[in-house]
């Protein structure tokens, strides 16, 4: 056995994330690791990569016990990990990226022998059967070729174990097939053991010799890839089925025939398949999809931050020339997914952030802010959303995640929108704040807004939505009434590649 991990345990500040995991890998094997977000896959692989010195349990390579205390330990023993986000230098060439950190020295000290560097990188790629334009800056490569560059770099040292974390999330179908062929060849010819993490269940089924399913920090089972179906995998991933709690229908106020809040016809981004979507007033629609399925781009396209063709009507009014400023005026607002990077002005006060979208529309005449109106609105929203501490002058960067998220939602609500698009509205907030945010979202719907919720949290989608639409690879691939769905069936729908339903 190439790799054996036994009874691996790891805690973060008292919370056990890995609860005694066993995992093994044979030379020449492709072993898929699947599990829902937070199941512990990435943590397990980080233990293997030597990122955590304080794990419990035993790791054996070729039967010999090793202690992986630092990334260097793992690298020296031939463990290479390719993470989801590339770590390439965009302006260096492919050859230079492959040789990064181990450039052949020239005759003069401090110089690099570029000729040898290029030849060696080329050889290393050819050994893996990968053809790459060696002299092209990585910036100009497609995502697939960048992925291949990463692989060549990772495998340039004597690699025996290659870990790939969601390598296909951003790849086109043809690039995906090329990657699979490369992986199979590396396994067969070089006897590399490959650990493959993916959310695409049918892809996993076709590719992997074995599949290990993880849930809540433990292994559910390991079995031969061919012995599973997409549906059986989905069931194992989510565990015992919790029936989605049905909330009273009047709560959403989404009686049939209610007026349309949002009507999208033929919205197409960069020639991708056109998307239709309609949301009634008072209706909450969930948007499900895997990472990379294009949900966030769709949301940004709606408000005109990403260019797109097609028609968007808000409250029956056609939006001409879409951009975020006009969208806000029409009553279509977005709360972005990453509240720190693109949601809030962290150096500004709670008040300044809350009124940011409403100010021009509701609180000012000819550019002059009505005296006192800003503070009144901020205090109203602080009270309504129970923001802690209840201080309008508090700098947003000093708030907890849950309270910062409340400020973001309050900003959207304060502008009295007809449609709110909420991208991951409760990501990384505690359970209490999550419940409060959910109540506020429902309240906004009751008051007549149409709401589109994007979330990775399936329970949240099932709990909150009247209806769920699914996106895969940039296209709307399904729409379901909530009663038709279970967690497993929703996940199965998200995990099918388009055209392979």
């Amino acid at each position: 056995m190439l790799l054996e991990m036994r009874d691996i345990r790891k805690s973060f500040s008292g919370v056990q994330v890995l609860r005694g995991v066993d995992f093994s890998l044979k030379a020449g094997e492709i072993h898929a690791l699947v599990g829902h977000n937070g199941a512990g896959k990435s943590t397990l692989m980080k233990v293997l990569g030597g990122n955590y010195a304080d794990y419990d349990g035993e790791v054996r390579l070729d039967g010999e016990e090793v202690r992986l205390g630092a990334p260097r330990d793992a690298l020296q023993r031939g463990v290479a990990i390719i993470y989801q986000d590339f770590s390439l230098v965009p302006d260096l060439t492919v050859a230079e990226n492959i040789a990064l950190g181990r450039e052949p020295r020239g005759r003069l000290s401090g110089t690099i022998a570029y000729g040898r560097l290029r030849d060696r990188s080329k050889q290393e790629a050819e050994r893996l059967g990968i053809a790459l334009p060696m002299d092209m800056p990585v910036r100009r490569l497609g995502v697939g070729a960048q992925q291949m560059t990463e692989i060549v770099r990772a495998c340039s040292q004597d690699v025996r174990i290659l870990v790939m974390d969601e390598p296909t999330a951003r790849l086109a179908p043809a690039e995906r097939e090329l990657l699979f062929a490369t992986m199979r060849r590396m396994a067969a010819e070089q006897q590399v053991g490959i650990v493959y993490i993916s959310h695409f269940l049918d892809e996993v089924r076709r590719l992997a010799d074995r599949i290990t399913i993880m849930r809540d920090g433990a292994v559910v089972e390991t079995g031969a890839g061919s012995s599973y179906t997409v549906d059986s995998l989905a069931k194992l991933l989510v565990g015992h089925e919790i029936v989605a709690s049905l909330r009273p229908t009047q709560a959403g106020g989404a009686a049939d025939g209610a007026r349309e809040a949002l009507n999208v016809r033929g919205l197409s981004i960069h020639g991708r398949p056109p998307i239709d979507l309609s949301i009634r007033r008072g209706e909450i629609v969930g948007l499900a999809g895997l990472v990379g399925s294009g949900r966030t781009r769709f949301a940004r396209a709606l408000i005109g931050d990403v260019r797109s063709a097609g028609r968007v009507e808000v409250g029956g009014r056609l939006m001409k020339r879409r951009n975020p400023e006009r969208a806000t005026r029409y009553g279509l607002v977005l709360t972005p997914e990453d509240r720190k990077a693109s949601g809030l002005a962290l150096t500004s006060s709670v008040e300044a952030n809350i009124v940011a979208s409403a100010l021009g529309k509701l609180l000012a005449t000819a550019g002059i802010v009505h005296p006192g109106s800003r503070a009144r609105m901020a205090l109203d929203m602080i009270q309504r959303f129970a923001i802690r501490p209840p201080a309008r002058k508090k700098i947003v960067g000093q708030l907890s995640g849950g309270n910062a998220q409340k400020v973001l939602l309050a900003r959207a609500v304060a502008s009295r929108p007809k449609v709110m698009v909420l991208d991951q509205p409760t990501a990384g907030v505690d359970i209490g704040a999550k419940a409060e945010l959910h109540n506020q979202i429902r309240l906004a719907a009751q008051q007549g807004a149409g709401i589109l919720v994007i979330s990775d949290d399936l329970d949240e989608l099932l709990d909150l939505s009247d209806r769920i639409v699914v996106m895969t690879a940039g296209a709307m691939s399904g729409s379901f009434r909530k009663a038709e769905l279970t967690r497993a069936s929703l996940l199965a729908n998200m995990s099918r590649l388009p055209g392979r339903a």
Partner: protein, 328 residues
């Protein structure tokens, strides 16, 4: 550690940080007052109204420029072309006053300054060149045109009466200082009472967030550079009032001195925060120190060195505090 302990510790830390923050807010004002008292006690001829009026009159011009600079710094940028714009404004005003009329000279100078600001804003906001490169280019461009247009010769002949604007007083207060106060008040009102002022902070804090929240980020940035250009042109006209000569080679030190004043006032170049009083106080602090050195007979050549040291100490203390706070 139990979560409860963690919470109360976090709250205690926060309160401590709050106290630090409010202390450092007033630290500069306190230092300024202490310096004033010290200079009054130990520097001969410092504590006279004639000297104060002199300090005010000399530093009002840089103060006017600093107000515009503040707006641009809060959005996360700055403007290196304010010196060239000031020189242009005083030369154009001088030429038109001599050849046509005083009101036309002043109006044209101000409009030209506004126009250069709009050009800066256009290239920064719409085209996406960074502020350093854009305003460096316009600075050189404007200076170049100015030298071509004047053949590098000063413009003489402005009537003596025009010096009222630069050297006159209303009661005991120099007129440039009144103009400075007016510009500072307008800047304060913009930041305090208008949507533009509100957006300036949000844009400086997070451009992406501002855009997605429906704020027209380009327009906000363009407007701040336009105001910066306008204020620099006002300063140029006041300069003409002091010298009575349209000097194309003047004002070269404005951009860095104005940035220094704002920064010494405690405004970080990273944007998102900053108040008018910081620009005012920073200007006066640098001015008062220069004046005191002058009075105790230190060679004026020492002045830039002292300014440099003041920047390092003032900004260094503030930044170090911030860094320690982040490390906790």
């Amino acid at each position: 550690m139990t979560p409860v302990d963690g919470d109360s510790a976090a709250i205690r830390r926060e309160k401590a940080a709050w106290r630090w923050a409010s202390l450092s807010t007033y630290a500069l004002a306190i230092i300024f007052v202490l310096l004033l008292i010290g200079f009054c006690l130990w520097v001969p001829h410092f504590a006279t109204w004639a000297n104060f009026a002199n300090v005010l009159q000399r530093n009002s011009i840089i103060g006017i420029v600093a107000c515009g600079m503040l707006l641009m710094i809060v959005t996360g940028g700055f403007d290196l072309s304010v010196g060239a714009v000031g020189a242009m404004s005083s030369v154009v005003a001088a030429a038109l006053i001599v050849q046509v009329s005083m009101p036309l000279g002043i109006v044209a100078a101000l409009l030209l300054g506004l126009a250069v600001g709009v050009v800066n804003g256009f290239f920064i906001a719409k085209i996406g060149i960074n502020p350093f490169v854009t305003t460096l280019a316009t600075q050189v461009l404007v200076t170049g045109f100015l030298f071509v247009g004047t053949a590098a010769q000063p413009v003489y002949g402005v009537p003596e009466s025009f010096t009222v604007l630069g050297l006159g007083r209303i009661g005991p207060i120099p007129i440039p200082t009144i103009i400075f106060a007016a510009v500072a008040t307008v800047t304060w009102a913009i930041l305090r009472f208008t949507t533009l002022g509100h957006y300036i902070y949000i844009v400086g804090g997070n451009k992406t967030a501002a855009r997605l929240a429906g704020i027209n980020v380009d327009r906000v940035i363009l407007t701040t550079y336009a105001l910066g250009g306008l204020f620099a042109a006002i300063a140029g006209v006041v300069l003409l009032g002091q010298t009575n000569i349209g000097q194309p080679a003047s004002a070269a030190d404005w951009p860095l001195t104005a940035i220094a004043a704002v920064v010494v006032g405690g405004v970080p170049l990273s944007g998102g925060v900053g108040q008018v009083w910081s620009a005012v106080l920073g200007t006066l602090l640098l001015g008062v120190i220069a004046n005191a050195l002058n009075l105790i007979g230190v060679s004026p050549f020492w002045q830039p060195a002292v300014t440099g040291a003041v920047i390092l100490v003032a900004v260094g203390l503030d930044s170090y505090q911030r860094k320690q706070r982040e490390l906790r």
